[in-house]
């Protein structure tokens, strides 16, 4: 018997909202961190047994294998419509969608804007890694000008491929959303702030506030063809100027 | 009902807003209240916005097969384009009711019965210029022989609901004017 272990205080453990599973995410990917943050918030707010999540199509399509909560799997881009249908039927349950930039800002932009415009009472966690991860690193709506991807091999040319979409700023033009924030998981400091924003979004939802949205800038070392360390450095250097961090919209009163 | 077999079909056509859809519903609804089988089909789509509108009503003592009628037994026409469109389709020997205030050319067929009446003038005379449809409807019911005046009055109050009871009287006045006209005017064969 290990008496030493008995005497030790447990200060860190897997959140109850996560299963004991090995994820399929690449080393240095931001999904694992963001999953953990969402799971910790779910635990802390005591909503694991009531919350319903909607998984996207993209790298996180299998997130229901990692979260130990009731979940939908959506089709590509339709998570906000599914969350709308569910929340309208069960307004008593907390609901969130978890979507990548292709899913949310390309094919699902209409569903996103209209759910936001209607002020649907769910939370969206938006992972922006400036690329299509699952399909192998193609250009996303959020790909930076000049950024090389599989479908912009010489760098995104704004003459032919236009400019990246700043989703937070765009949604902030709408009247209904109550909370819109952009965070990053590129360093320990930013991870802590990211958790605060995610927690605030969920808390606002629980208080009945309309549409809450957190964009998470997230590294994709594999498709960026970098080491994890290079990826977080590239993110902060290149994505921060294009996608400034902070609360874009927040209620005056609330949390 | 006296057990006699009943079947009749009518197309009602004119400008949107002239109340043709309404008198079609009134016919079908009043006949339904009498225990008859009825169908009412409107034309639908952009033509409803101020263009020509029409509806087809079938009333029968038996379950109704086709609600779509190529050759109706009667025709109510409230404008020139409708006469153009539907006169050729009226069954031989059928009844054509014309609002003579708005239809400016005569019917061309000689194998049908035409009842032309100044429905707008009559409507103004009874005090409701919008009730020209009810004048023509009065003539149709007088010649159609399926509904009584009471059937129509009951149907009208059913469709209007209680809040519009005040409209009932003037509409029935218009209806009566049409009945009188149909009884007085000889049908031109």
């Amino acid at each position: 018997m290990n008496t030493e272990a008995q005497e030790m205080e447990r200060i860190f453990e897997r959140p109850r909202a996560l299963r004991s599973a090995t994820t399929h995410y690449c080393p240095g990917c931001g999904h694992g961190i963001t999953h953990r943050l969402v799971a910790e918030v779910i635990d802390e707010l005591g909503i694991r047994e009531t919350i319903v999540g909607v998984a996207p199509v993209g790298c996180s399509v299998l997130m229901y294998n990692y979260f130990d909560i009731d979940m939908f799997e959506a089709s590509h881009g339709r998570a906000p419509a599914i969350a709308t249908g569910f929340k309208r039927a069960r307004p008593d349950l907390p609901v969130f969608t978890y979507q990548g930039d292709g899913d949310l800002a390309a094919i699902g932009i209409a569903e996103t804007i209209h759910a936001a415009a209607r002020g649907e009472k769910f939370t969206t966690i938006f992972i922006n890694n400036a690329t299509y991860g699952m399909t192998g690193g193609q250009m996303a709506p959020t790909t930076l000008v000049g950024q090389k991807t599989a479908t912009s091999p010489t760098g995104r040319n704004c003459e032919t491929a236009g400019y990246p979409i700043k989703v937070c700023e765009m949604l902030a033009t709408l009247d209904a959303p109550s909370y819109i924030a952009r965070v990053s998981v590129s360093s320990a400091k930013h991870v802590l702030k990211a958790k605060q924003a995610i927690s605030k979004a969920f808390q606002l939802q629980l208080k009945g506030f309309p549409y809450t949205f957190v964009e998470v800038l997230s590294p994709c070392p594999t498709d960026w063809h970098m080491t994890p360390q290079e990826a977080v450095e590239w993110l902060e250097e290149n994505m921060f100027p294009q996608y400034p961090l902070g609360e874009v919209k927040a209620p005056k009163e609330g949390v | 009902m006296n057990g006699k077999s009943i079947y009749t079909s009518v197309i009602m056509a004119g400008f949107g807003g002239q109340g043709l859809m309404f008198i079609g519903k009134l016919l079908a609804y009043s006949a339904m209240k009498r225990g008859l089988h009825v169908t009412w089909i409107p034309s639908y789509g952009p033509e409803m916005r101020g263009g020509t509108a029409n509806c087809t009503v079938v009333v029968s003592s038996e379950p109704i097969g086709s609600p779509v009628i190529q050759k109706p037994e009667s025709l109510i026409v409230m404008n020139n384009p409708s006469l153009e469109a539907f006169e050729p389709r009226l069954k031989a020997g059928g009844l054509l009711f014309l609002n003579a205030d708005l239809v400016t050319r005569p019917a061309t067929r000689t194998d049908i019965n035409v009842i032309a009446l100044p429905a707008n003038d009559e409507a103004v005379r009874v005090g409701e210029h919008r009730a020209a449809n009810m004048v023509v409807f009065g003539a149709y019911v007088a010649r159609g022989g399926i509904l009584s005046r009471d059937d129509v009055a009951a149907g009208l109050s059913g469709l209007f609901g209680e809040k519009a009871a005040s409209k009932l009287e003037v509409n029935m006045k218009a209806f009566d004017a049409g009945v009188k006209y149909a009884q007085a005017a000889p049908a031109r064969a």
Partner: protein, 354 residues
């Protein structure tokens, strides 16, 4: 029972509410707009929710979301809008979510027209979206039948965990007829919705999903769906046979065309031609056996559709070489008159006489 005077669209909406449907998601399109316009007033009276979505695609996924909660839910549209919904319909069929989808067909292809048509038969009965799946398809011919079948549709959807389509056309949707509503509670023997998402309290987590990356798992799932379709075919086929006992020629038609055919049959019989009608009420599962049984007893079967020949393929499949199957169709929004059907039958019987 009190008779109300309603359009087919309104009757379907009222029947849905009486069947316990509390959620409606849709997008405007002619000729079915009376359904959302009725629902927006009616659903709040019973504590339900009406929501006009930003698109047909969004509305069908709102159905997916609400159905995933275990609620009774409906959407409606017309042909081009139903095409847009196909993505979601495939997902709903794959996830086995019960719901009711109304298609008031109009002329196609493309934007087509707004007048009545039956040219979405293939889409409705053969799948429509991607993958091996079927909707349960009901084809009412009268406003009363539209109401009755809609009341049942929600039970059927729950019983088989399958989307049910009510397939009508512009005539059925726009036409007013007398209708009375039975008071109907959901059947007592419906399976419990243990799969629904309600939060995990007291049980393991549920997932509503359609992705199966392992081919052997996906094949198994498909085989399970096929078993369900076979069960429907065994238990739920509905068909009306009208004056077929002594018929020499049988008309095969559904929905609006079937009732027009009845008028044609009366006219034909007055002329001494023994005609009858076989009217499939379920288009999927299709009444193959009824046609197969009747085929040897009749000289010809004339399939009449408001399309250029879709259901006729199922009739031919049922009949094989037991009798000749002929076809007459109008399309593009033209509703055939009974007189046209009479002429077609007369042509066929004249050939028989020769």
């Amino acid at each position: 029972m009190e008779k109300l005077f309603m359009t087919g669209n309104e009757a379907i909406a009222e029947a849905a509410v009486r069947a316990g449907c509390r959620y409606y998601f849709g997008y405007p399109i002619t000729p079915q707009n009376e359904i959302p316009e009725y629902m927006v007033k009616r659903l709040p009276e019973v504590g339900g929710v009406f929501l006009q979505a930003e698109s047909e695609i969004a509305s069908i996924f709102m159905v997916y979301g609400a159905a995933g909660s275990g609620a009774r839910v409906m959407t409606s549209s017309a042909s081009p809008g139903i095409s847009l919904k196909q993505e979601g319909i495939s997902y709903i069929a794959a996830a086995e979510l019960p719901c009711v989808i109304v298609n008031m067909m109009r002329g196609g292809p493309g934007l087509g027209g707004i007048q009545p048509s039956q040219s979405d038969y293939f889409q409705a009965t053969k799948g429509g979206g991607h993958g091996d799946y079927h909707l349960f398809v009901l084809a009412p011919a009268t406003v009363q039948e539209a109401a009755d079948l809609c009341l049942e549709a929600f039970d059927i959807a729950d019983r088989y965990r399958n989307p049910v389509m009510i397939l009508g056309d512009g005539v059925l949707g726009q036409m007013m007829e007398p209708v009375s509503f039975q008071d109907r509670r959901p059947a007592a023997d419906l399976p419990e919705k243990t799969w629904a998402l309600t939060g995990t309290k007291g049980r393991a987590a549920n997932v509503v999903k359609t992705l199966n990356l392992d081919p052997s798992v996906l094949e198994k799932h498909n085989l399970k769906l096929q078993e369900k379709y076979k069960r429907m075919a065994k238990e739920e086929v509905r068909v009306e046979c009208y004056q077929v006992d002594d018929a020499e020629i049988v008309i095969a038609a559904y929905g609006t065309v079937a009732r027009i055919a009845k008028t044609a049959i009366q006219a034909l019989r007055e002329k001494g031609i023994k005609a009858g009608l076989v009217r499939p009420i379920t288009l999927y599962p299709f009444p193959y056996k009824t046609f197969a049984d009747i085929a040897p007893k009749v000289r010809k079967i004339l399939t009449v559709e408001m399309s250029l020949g879709q259901m006729v393929e199922d009739v031919r499949l049922a009949v094989g070489d037991k009798t000749e199957v002929c076809f007459f169709g109008r399309c593009g929004g033209i509703v055939p008159g009974y007189e046209e059907i009479v002429v077609e039958v007369e042509k066929l019987t004249a050939k028989v006489a020769r």
